[in-house]
């Protein structure tokens, strides 16, 4: 039975690259694409023409108008109960038109401290990660990129296309070890894919061997 019908509910499309979950270097994978998970975010509130009651948890199937008086099936996901004012994110499939190639260019021990037997007991690290993001889509996209730095750390320098990024203003600290970047990717042009390069140069502090 149909229990809810709402037209033109605003949605936000989200592409997410989580460096802890997805492979870093697609070139190392033989004949396999790295799909960037794509989700739709829906807020259960009056602005979304919802918000009358909590949305029950269950399977959600999403279709899209194809412009030919028909639809295509985009994907499906399970959702938990969504109280009024809360949001749900439905993972519908993977995008293979956004490609992230992430490599660690430096990983050195610095500030090494040794015991009387000359054994290393504590050190810092000097690490540099470069992530190249290519958008092969003919439409712009905003990629949410999650980067993870375990333990105690200091960001030495963080840049996007060689422009300095500042914590708080340009990227967020989701928790002690997780950084969130929102990378705005223009559409592909005649010259080729839109390319952005994120560099993180950081030190992990007081690491024990």
């Amino acid at each position: 039975m149909l229990f809810l019908k709402a037209d033109k509910v605003p949605i936000t499309k989200i592409w997410t690259f989580d460096a802890a979950k997805l492979p870093w270097d697609p070139q190392q994978l033989e004949n396999r694409n790295v799909g960037i998970p794509v989700s739709y975010r829906i807020v259960n509130d009056a602005n979304s023409k919802l918000g009358q009651f909590a949305l029950w948890g269950g399977k959600a199937r999403i279709f899209q108008d194809d412009g030919h008086q028909s639809t295509i099936f985009l994907g499906e996901d399970n959702t938990n109960l969504v109280p009024v004012g809360e949001k749900m994110e439905l993972y519908i499939g993977d995008s293979r038109d956004i490609v992230v190639t992430q490599r660690k260019m430096t990983d050195n021990q610095i500030n090494i401290r040794r015991n009387t037997k000359e054994q290393i007991v504590l050190f810092d690290t000097d690490e540099e990660i470069v992530a190249r993001i290519e958008n092969f889509k003919d439409s712009p996209a905003v990629l949410t990129m999650l980067q993870h730095i375990p333990g105690q750390w200091d960001m030495e320098k963080c840049t996007l296309d060689n422009k300095d990024l500042k914590l708080g203003a340009d990227y967020k600290k989701k928790n002690a070890g997780t950084l969130e970047f929102e990378i705005k990717l223009p559409a592909r042009t005649e010259k080729g894919p839109a390319v952005k390069e994120l560099k993180m140069h950081y030190h992990r502090r007081n690491v024990r061997p």
């Binding site: 033989e30 794509v38 028909s70 295509i72 519908i92 499939g93 490599r103 050195n108």
Partner: protein, 452 residues
């Protein structure tokens, strides 16, 4: 065996007193049918239009999906006219009856009402495959792309508009499993017996074998091949095959997707011991862009068989086969055609020594350098020019490298990998050297100081 859905719609013969006011619906055959077939999951969206003859008041329509692979939870019916006067109130699944649903419809009008019925089914699939024919000088290639649609759904689809989806769709359950459920929405912790899973797998296998037997060659005699329109939708690409197709169950149909001549290609060879062993691996490289006469749409993943023009009479020789991934517009393509013997890369260690020993306060060794000098010879025994990428991996991030000799490009790929690129003319060789100094133990302190 012909089992079309029209035969699975049955008029409800209701004799009970309690349901005596429910009017019976005569369901005609479908007017049109549209198939949207996915390749990332065993799933097809079927959309069919029919004209129901309804009477004013309550109507009931029985739907059976016996012998098909329809997911009953996906069934949906929408009136295409007089939508405000027709209320498709509910779809009920009667207890203790398998593969049967009952639509209860309240109609404010009597007469013919066009409706659209959609559902997901499994058993229809499509895949892409390609044929590449290299010119004798291997500078260009004729690239032909095909799609093959296979119907093992248990249902004949006649004159169906056929659309193919390129993309990776997230689905929670296999449609075939949903189709086999006794109760459409299942029961908690329903367990499918293992032997049933194995049986269904073996059935799929048998069907695959049948599919190969029954595959038809491309219908070249039909003259102009059907056009396939390609357009992007969300994260997917939609291929719409011109006109309609009739694909009976158990049959496959192959259609040409594109045919492009003189795609410029690079004969790329790679050497990386850790990945490919001692062999040189051949790749065929090109770009999915306009410069390469491609770039209109992404290229769906599939299998490419590569042939080479062997003589002026058009005889072909088999070069290799590669399975490749989805290629977005403007991305480079590298097709692995397997290891070869006619391009040779020979790395030789010419010198090994240790140096710069450091000792701790007890006189034990605490640090040292390892210095290795390699000579790498690359030989192209073929008549044509080739490009060779030689990747070398180190076991540490503490190293520096000195290089000399005959190579074209050098690149630090990441903290412990470097790449040398060589362009070799036909029947030529190049030799280069590099010396890598690896810093061990406390010598890494000196490395850091020197690199700061």
């Amino acid at each position: 065996m012909r089992r079309i859905i029209t035969t699975t719609f049955i008029i409800v013969a209701i004799s009970s007193v309690g349901l005596a006011k429910v009017d019976l619906v005569t369901l005609p055959t479908r007017d049109t049918v549209q198939l949207t077939i996915y390749n990332s999951a065993d799933m097809t969206l079927v959309r069919e239009s029919r004209a129901l003859t309804l009477k004013e008041g309550k109507n009931s329509l029985q739907f059976s999906w016996e012998n098909t692979l329809i997911d009953p939870t996906s069934l949906e019916m929408l009136p295409k006219a007089n939508a405000d006067k027709i209320n498709i109130a509910e779809l009920v699944y009667p207890p203790r009856v398998r593969n049967l649903g009952l639509w209860n419809i309240e109609s404010g009008i009597s007469g013919k009402v066009p409706v659209e019925i959609t559902y997901l089914t499994s058993g229809l699939s499509w895949r892409a495959f390609y044929m590449g024919t290299l010119t004798k000088d291997e500078k260009t290639m004729r690239l032909q792309g095909y799609v093959r649609v296979t119907n093992n759904s248990g249902e004949d689809y006649e004159n169906a508009q056929t659309r193919l989806i390129v993309g990776t769709v997230h689905v929670l359950d296999e449609i075939a499993e949903l189709a086999r459920r006794q109760y459409p929405y299942g029961r908690p912790e329903e367990i499918v017996p293992i032997d049933e899973i194995q049986r269904s797998k073996s059935m799929v296998l048998k069907r695959e074998m049948v599919k190969i037997d029954m595959e038809l060659p491309a219908p070249m005699y039909l003259g102009k091949p059907k056009e396939i329109t390609k357009e992007g939708l969300s994260e997917y690409f939609l291929y719409t095959i011109e006109g309609t197709e009739t694909i009976p169950t158990g049959w496959s149909k192959r259609l040409i997707s594109f045919d492009i001549d003189q795609v410029p290609v690079v004969n790329l060879y790679k050497y990386e011991e850790e990945r490919y062993g001692q062999n040189v691996v051949r790749f065929l490289s090109f770009k999915n862009d306009q410069e390469h006469k491609l770039g209109q749409t992404p290229i769906p993943g599939g299998v490419l068989k590569v042939y080479r023009a062997a003589d002026e009479q058009g005889q072909l020789s088999y070069t290799g086969q590669s399975e490749f991934k989805y290629i977005p517009v403007d991305e480079d393509v590298e097709l692995n055609l397997g290891s070869v013997a006619d391009v040779v890369v020979e790395p030789k260690i010419m010198e090994f020594k240790t140096d710069n020993y450091r000792f701790d306060n007890r006189g034990n060794i605490s640090g040292w350098d390892e210095i290795r000098t390699f000579t790498i010879e690359a030989r192209n025994t073929r008549d044509i020019a080739v490009k060779i990428e030689i990747q070398r991996n180190f076991d540490s991030a503490y190293w520096n490298l000195e290089k000399s000799g005959d190579f074209d490009q050098f690149e630090k790929v990441d903290m412990d990998t470097v790449k040398f690129t060589l362009n070799l003319q036909g029947r030529s060789a190049k030799t280069f050297q590099y010396t890598v100094r690896a810093y061990r133990g406390t010598r890494q302190d000196d490395f850091r100081e020197s690199s700061q």
